[in-house]
């Protein structure tokens, strides 16, 4: 059953050095505040899993949290490269980063397989490409009816899933709307799930009978962090801060400017700093 905690307590309780951690959110609902807390608490040797390592993983990798990255697309969406990710892969700074690389279809299916309690995911893909030659976790399985060889990858079962969502009720049931990404799958696939939310309400209120709700008993901890997805966004709350994504290119390009930015905005800040983003953007909306 979900425990309501401060973000600091939740990260301390759920995320351990060496864990496999999936911080998810497909453009929408990326839990930046929670990732910052992991950085502040100095977690090390994490295997970070994420379809689209963008700014949030550029920060975690650049701060030395990660020993390995499992991913399918690493870039700053609509802007360009991730300089910290590149620096880690190309130059081993601040530490070497092992990578396990997939395509989106593989990762999406692997999370779904994890949520479904299956040992592997099967799909039609990886035909004629070089990735299977460099990733031993891409194999083939043969259809027992047609003989077709299909792609197989291991299910993703992270130790910890970290996601942001819109709101939770007092029983810890969590509502997600808008772009869903793999939020539901990663929570159900993980051993422990940490969810940050924009607000906690008495009742989730009128909604579609088929609304995407994660029951409280699928979640380990919920932390209230208004604005906690910034510079990503929360449907119905605030919009994506596209200017921040554009600006990140300059901040992250250089080790020194990156480190200075992280010191000021992460190491010496706290989750409350995110509330400002919520307010500012809510006014503008």
């Amino acid at each position: 059953m979900a425990q309501f905690m401060s973000l600091g307590d939740a990260v301390a309780a759920l995320v351990r050095d060496g864990d496999t951690v999936a911080v998810e959110g497909f453009t929408h609902l990326i839990p930046h505040a929670a990732a910052h807390e992991v950085i502040r608490q100095g977690r090390r040797d994490l295997t970070l899993v994420r379809m689209t390592p963008d700014i949030v993983y550029d920060q975690m990798i650049g701060m030395g949290c990660a020993a390995k990255l499992v991913f399918s697309w690493g870039g700053n969406p609509g802007v360009g490269s991730l300089h910290r990710f590149r620096d880690a892969v190309q130059n081993g700074w601040p530490r070497p980063l092992a990578i396990e690389e997939h395509a989106h279809a593989a990762m999406a299916n692997a999370y779904a397989a994890g949520a479904a309690g299956l040992p592997f995911a099967m799909f039609r893909g990886y035909l004629g490409v070089d990735l299977p030659a460099v990733n031993p976790n891409i194999r083939r399985v043969t259809c027992p009816f047609t003989g077709e060889a299909l792609a197989a990858v291991p299910a993703l079962r992270p130790d910890v899933a970290i996601v942001h969502a819109l709101k939770a009720d007092r029983a810890g049931n969590v509502l997600i709307e808008g772009i869903l990404g793999v939020q539901k799958e990663v929570v159900l696939a993980a051993s422990r799930a940490l969810v940050t939310v924009e607000e906690i309400v008495d009742d989730l209120g009128p909604r579609s009978p088929n609304a995407v709700v994660l029951p409280g008993w699928t979640i380990a901890a919920i932390a209230l962090v208004p604005g906690g997805a910034h510079p990503s966004y929360a449907h119905g709350y605030y919009r994506r801060d596209n200017a921040f994504y554009l600006g990140w290119d300059d901040i992250a390009r250089d080790r020194a400017s990156f480190t200075a930015w992280m010191k000021t905005n992460v190491l010496e800040a706290g989750p409350d700093a995110f509330a400002a983003h919520r307010r500012r953007l809510a006014v503008a909306a």
Binding site: H104, A108, F123, G125
Partner: protein, 263 residues
């Protein structure tokens, strides 16, 4: 289109965008990528293909953004969509399910058979430049009815041999796709800032079929890392019409205003 339709000057990127847009119809269900493909698809929707169905890999189906998204999952895409599904569902039921008629893909490198590299420059284990990786591209290339590749042309990116095959286009050419059991057409157009390539019906080598106004064959040869083949009949690409240009520029201007207001 007659020359009377075109009175405005235009950039090479506008030319690429307009040519890409023209290849789409209202009957298409299009898997849209960010950047030029997104501009092209929405230009088509706002001009000759009002009923085109646009799908972004973030799960938004039949979206009608009034401004262009910066990312594949901006809120604008969800707000204006018919519905939004999860990413696993998008890849399973919609893409792998064979419901997309056309997809757009870019590449950091391309070869003569329109295979693409977006993974790495240099050796995989010791990269000179680490690129973003596969994303949805390998399966977009396999599952969409056909693929339009859009890339500005240069010897750095149009290469004789890819450093890494991220995405399988026509492979080694000929019936290579069919031999792998792939039933879709693969890359049917390669739209650059200089010209349009289409695959040779037999060899599948990408072959120039239309050259943009003011471009000559040597410019194309100079920007290509393999000996370029030209089709028997090469057309001159019709320049962007004023309607196309004005619609595209309005779209970009709206986008700039909206993004500025967000900050």
């Amino acid at each position: 289109m007659t020359s009377a339709d075109t009175t405005l000057a235009y950039t090479a990127t506008e030319m690429m965008t307009v040519v890409s847009a023209r290849a789409l119809t209202s009957a298409d269900v299009c898997f849209v990528g960010i950047g030029l493909p997104s501009a092209a698809c929405n230009l088509a929707r706002l001009t000759h293909a009002p009923d085109i169905t646009l799908i972004y890999e973030s799960g938004t189906i039949a979206t009608r953004p009034s401004v262009l998204p910066l990312s594949i999952g901006d809120g604008e895409l969800c707000d204006t969509a018919l519905t939004t599904v999860s990413v696993p569902e998008m890849f399973r039921y919609w893409l792998q399910g064979g419901r997309i008629t056309v997809g757009f893909l870019p590449g950091a490198q391309i070869d003569r058979f329109a295979n693409l590299n977006t993974t790495v420059i240099g050796p995989y284990d010791r990269p000179i430049t680490r690129l973003p990786g596969s994303g949805g591209a390998p399966e977009i290339m396999t599952h969409c009815g056909e693929i339009f590749v859009t890339m500005p042309q240069s010897r750095r990116s149009f290469v004789d041999k890819l450093d890494f095959v991220t995405t399988f286009g026509h492979g080694q050419g000929g019936d290579h796709r069919a031999r792998l059991g792939i039933r879709t057409k693969g890359p049917t157009r390669l739209i650059t800032d200089l010209c349009v390539f289409e695959p040779d019906p037999e060899t599948k080598e990408m072959t120039v079929t239309s050259i943009h106004p003011g471009i000559d064959r040597d410019q194309i040869r100079d920007a290509t890392g393999w000996p370029v083949r030209f089709a028997e009949r090469v057309a001159e690409t019709a320049p962007p019409t004023d309607v196309e240009l004005e619609t595209l520029r309005d779209l970009h201007a709206r986008t700039r205003r909206a993004h500025a207001a967000d900050t």
